[in-house]
């Protein structure tokens, strides 16, 4: 039964998440522009960009890069399917990590020195945020009594009331996961702080289009994790969750526009320190009290 629900959820996520993600990306560009005193592009600009990418000639440095990117996208969909059908949070976490791994392999497979630098940094980014992500799942389990995301709908109070510290930790690493400055080490949309184009240096045309779509889907999933903290038995809580998600997204855009990229040492140390302090303390509190 779970398998069927997951399958249906994956298909639905694959259809809906790109649309939502695309709109969010458009919103991001308008808000960023306003913060910089510009008017900004139309809301659908990201869609036009990706459509144009798919119309370009297919050029690549090898035959496997797109296969890897395709796998990364596929597993991002599966992770989304698991999460939004109320499946196991840990399963979702593991599958989105698998997706990241395929993306890393895509970058390595090109053998571009620039892409390799990006891939090595992406690996480091995964290492930086992974402890907090696992502790997020554990914290959720201790607060909700289950790993199944769907069970939040049966709670009397949202999990934010017990694991707000974990929520703060998640907010910190969310900047890494959304690829926002100051933690956009592996690939950045701020041209002035990038070595060529990081991981996607050798990706072009349709392949790059797939990467964009994957990025949208991931964003939707990660914002879903944020929303999960604010949902409980009351149906109206969904509205609250959406409002919080939008506020958090705005915050991330603000951070993105106000901080310059940091070095990897600072990212690793700060992310691990936050995981230890926020995740560790919160979990210890829940386990022992």
């Amino acid at each position: 039964m779970t398998i069927l629900t997951t399958l249906i959820g994956t298909v639905a996520f694959a259809l809906i998440a790109p649309v939502v993600g695309c709109l969010l990306a458009g919103l991001d560009r308008i808000i960023s522009a306003r913060m910089q005193g510009r008017v900004g592009p139309p809301l659908l600009q990201p869609y036009y960009d990706v459509r144009k990418l798919f119309e370009k000639e297919s050029v690549s440095v090898n035959s496997v890069e797109r296969t890897y990117v395709g796998c990364a996208l596929l597993f991002a969909w599966v992770a989304g399917g698991v999460f939004f059908t109320g499946g196991n949070l840990l399963m979702c976490v593991f599958i989105i990590t698998l997706s990241s791994l395929f993306f890393i392999m895509a970058a390595y497979s090109t053998r571009s020195p620039y892409a390799e630098v990006g891939a090595a940094r992406e690996t480091l980014q995964v290492m930086a945020y992974e402890p907090m992500v696992l502790l997020l799942a554990v914290g959720f389990y201790l607060a909700a009594g289950t790993f199944d995301v769907g069970d939040v709908l049966a709670l009397d109070a949202p999990v934010i009331t017990t694991i707000w510290l974990v929520f703060l930790g998640l907010l910190f690493i969310l900047t890494i996961k959304l690829r926002k400055s100051p933690f956009d080490l592996s690939m950045s949309h701020h041209a002035h702080q990038e070595i060529v184009r990081g991981m996607t240096t050798e990706m072009s045309g349709p392949t790059l289009g797939l990467v964009e779509i994957m990025h949208w889907c991931e964003n939707v999933l990660f914002l879903g994790w944020i929303g999960m903290f604010f949902v409980w038995g009351n149906p109206l809580s969904i509205i609250l969750a959406v409002a919080v998600v939008l506020a958090v997204y705005f915050l991330e855009i603000w951070i993105d526009n106000n901080f310059a990229r940091v070095k990897w040492q600072l990212m690793l140390k700060s992310a691990w320190a936050v995981a230890l302090a926020a995740g560790g303390v919160n979990i210890a509190f829940l386990a022992f009290l």
């Binding site: 779970t2 398998i3 997951t6 297919s58 050029v59 690549s60 440095v61 090898n62 035959s63 496997v64 296969t67 890897y68 796998c71 596929l74 599966v78 698991v82 196991n88 840990l90 399963m91 593991f94 599958i95 990590t97 698998l98 791994l101 890393i104 392999m105 970058a107 390595y108 497979s109 090109t110 053998r111 571009s112 020195p113 620039y114 892409a115 390799e116 090595a120 690996t123 480091l124 995964v126 290492m127 992974e130 402890p131 696992l134 502790l135 554990v138 389990y141 201790l142 060529v196 240096t201 050798e202 040492q265 690793l268 691990w272 230890l276 995740g279 560790g280 979990i283 386990a287 022992f288």
Partner: protein, 639 residues
């Protein structure tokens, strides 16, 4: 029972024959045939007893007891001979202590103790049987081709010790069967010591200075562990009056204080065998041995004997806080720190060694937690680690002989140069650290069992350790994934026996990952229920099936979805200059000369270096073990 006897005796016979055979052809035939026979016998034993709750056989023999003592004497003799030859005082002294201890035990305390039910098997033994019988004999087959190349790489006129090598490999298999089938702890101890001495001789195989030094480091640490085992035997003989392992565990569950010293001593033996910090150096040193040895003894089976013992003790550990705390912390800290140190290594075998120690640490920690869920996870960790690690060791061994290096940096473009081997290696690596492969499913269960027992420290350790694990595997994987064009394919000269063994491991790995839910039902759950009476499983079967579907997708992509000629227009990579050669990444620089772009992986030695991290673990774990020993010896009633 005949089958148990066969599995123990047959490898010994083969070993004796192999010792006499000097020709390559005859040896190939004998090893292949006996490997198939042992493998088949193991499969039959496992297959016909699926779901067993444990079967005990009435079998005891005074003659066998004396034979065991005799074997112990021979072992000590071998060690003493080496200790004298290479002037190693400590090894000699420890061997003598053990000799005296074993003789006194047998003739003063133990001669009246009889264990009627000498042999047994349960589902955990069957799991180990599968690993020893199928993976172990697969590695022996692999060794045929590997050792031929190995001998060819030796300096001119080097002595051909291959008969001894293969004999030792088969003696080792027999000893492992003794460990997993013996209910009589004295026999188990004999098997334990035989594996130690096999490992000693195989590490010192080349007789170079480094090999001998590392062999002695191994024997000293494992003799210390053996003395721990001996202490436990004394306690059993004097306090409990029995050598029956199953009775020992039952007594321990009923009255943990009574067996506290014995449990701590046995756990100590297991910890040394499993190379947990502070004993990790012997396993790292053991990597000088020929690669099949590393695969068989030092990752898939012998070190598993250590965790096998600990997993067996899990029900007792669940009841006794001090030994449990010791085992958990030692395992957990080892997992964390060895995962960190693996990041700083570029030698493939050392990365594998650190990862082995780390995973054994995780299994150790599971055993320390001791709940049904933790044991479920530990069993899967044992199984998947054994298959994936032997696959990886064998891949590294073959790559080493064909690209001339075991450095990960030299494995650039392996995907082009050795396409099949690189895919096997990638499969093995992915299985080690990424969902939905078996190893990660087991880690998942581990995490849940830690949370359920409120082991916050272990949860945090697992979270950070897993992150480090991702780092060192992913960068290796990335190195393999690079594709540049069409360098020469160098894998055409790989021996058939090597391919056969590699293929066996790869197929086993995929099958085990995809059928994980079935293995759980027929092999792992029966053990858990037979010991605890209840089933503990943290991951719902539905989720297990989702994982196995994902595995199938990844495997298909890896082996079928790649390669072939590109349908798109192919271009050179961007190098900030006109490209001159795609393979070596050379380009025309600003002065019209040729520059070559190079990129190395990150090793972050100043953050995760051995010098910085190893002492922390050594100090911590030594202190923990000393404290546990003291408490168990002085105040067992506190437990």
């Amino acid at each position: 029972m005949a089958l148990l006897g066969f599995l123990i005796v047959f490898p010994l016979v083969v070993a004796a024959v192999l010792l006499a055979v000097r020709g390559d052809g005859a040896r190939n035939v004998i090893v292949c045939a006996s490997a198939i026979i042992i493998g088949a016998a193991s499969v039959v034993l496992v297959g016909s007893n699926l779901g067993t709750q444990g079967v005990f056989f009435e079998f005891s023999s005074l003659a066998l007891d004396f034979t065991c003592t005799g074997v112990s004497v021979v072992i000590v003799g071998i060690i003493l001979a080496f200790a004298v030859k290479y002037r190693n005082l400590l090894a000699g002294a420890l061997a003598l202590v053990q000799l005296v201890g074993a003789l006194v035990l047998e003739f003063v305390f133990a001669h009246e103790i009889e264990v009627p039910l000498g042999l047994y098997f349960d589902s955990l033994s069957l799991l180990m049987t599968f690993i020893i019988g199928v993976i172990g004999s697969g590695i022996c087959v692999y060794a045929l081709g590997y050792m031929r190349d190995f001998q060819a790489h030796e300096p001119e006129g080097a002595k051909d010790r291959r008969p001894l090598f293969f004999a030792l490999m088969f003696v080792f298999l027999s000893a492992m069967f003794v460990i997993v089938f013996s209910n009589n702890m004295e026999w188990m101890f004999t098997g334990w010591e035989v594996t130690t001495v096999c490992s000693f001789l195989l590490i010192g195989y080349t007789r170079t200075e480094e090999a001998i030094a590392n062999a002695f480091r191994q024997i000293i640490m494992n003799l210390a562990g053996g003395i721990g085992f001996l202490v436990a035997l004394y306690v059993c003989a004097i306090q409990l009056g029995t050598f029956s392992f199953v009775e020992f565990i039952m007594l321990g569950v009923a009255d943990p204080a009574l067996v506290a010293v014995a449990v701590v001593a046995l756990a100590f033996a297991g910890i040394t065998k499993a190379a947990q910090m502070p004993f990790q150096t012997w396993l790292l040193g053991a990597m000088v041995a020929p690669t099949p040895t590393s695969a068989l003894l030092h990752s898939s089976t012998m070190v598993k004997a250590g965790v096998f013992l600990l997993v067996k003790l899990a029900p007792v550990l669940l009841m006794s806080p001090v030994p449990s705390m010791m085992v958990m912390l030692v395992g957990g800290i080892t997992f964390l720190l060895c995962s960190f140190m693996a990041i700083s290594q570029s030698n493939a075998k050392r990365v594998l060694a650190y990862s082995t120690i780390a995973n054994l640490g995780l299994i150790t920690a599971c055993a320390g937690v001791g709940t049904p869920e933790a044991v479920w996870a530990a069993e899967f960790l044992i199984l998947f680690h054994a298959i994936a690690k032997s696959l990886l060791f064998l891949c590294v061994g073959t790559a080493e002989h064909h690209i001339g290096s075991r450095d990960i940096e030299s494995m650039d473009l392996l995907f082009d140069r050795m396409p099949r081997l690189a895919r096997f290696m990638m499969l093995g690596i992915m299985c080690m650290f990424i969902a939905p492969f078996g190893m990660l499913v087991a880690k998942w269960a581990t995490l849940v069992s830690f949370v359920d027992m409120d082991q916050v420290a272990l949860v945090i350790i697992l979270a950070f350790g897993s992150a480090a694990t991702f780092m060192f595997w992913a960068k290796w994987l990335g190195k393999l994934a690079g594709i540049a064009g069409s360098p020469e394919n160098v894998e055409v000269t790989v021996h058939k026996t090597e391919w056969a063994a590699l293929l066996l491991m790869a197929v086993l790995l995929v099958v085990a990952c995809v059928t994980l839910p079935l293995i759980s039902t027929y092999l792992v759950e029966p053990y858990v229920t037979s010991i605890y009476g209840i089933l503990g499983q943290d991951i719902s079967t539905d989720n297990l099936w989702i994982a196995s579907i994902c595995v199938a997708i990844v495997v298909v992509v890896l082996f079928a979805g790649m390669g072939g000629s590109p349908k798109t227009r192919k271009v050179d990579v961007y190098l900030a200059g006109v490209s001159r050669g795609a393979d070596e990444r050379s380009f025309q620089n600003a002065l019209s000369g040729t520059s070559v772009a190079t990129a190395r992986n990150w090793y972050m030695d100043d953050v995760f270096g051995e010098k910085r991290i190893a002492p922390v673990g050594v100090v911590f774990n030594s202190a923990i073990m000393v404290a546990a020993l003291v408490i168990a010896a002085v105040a067992p009633t506190l437990l």
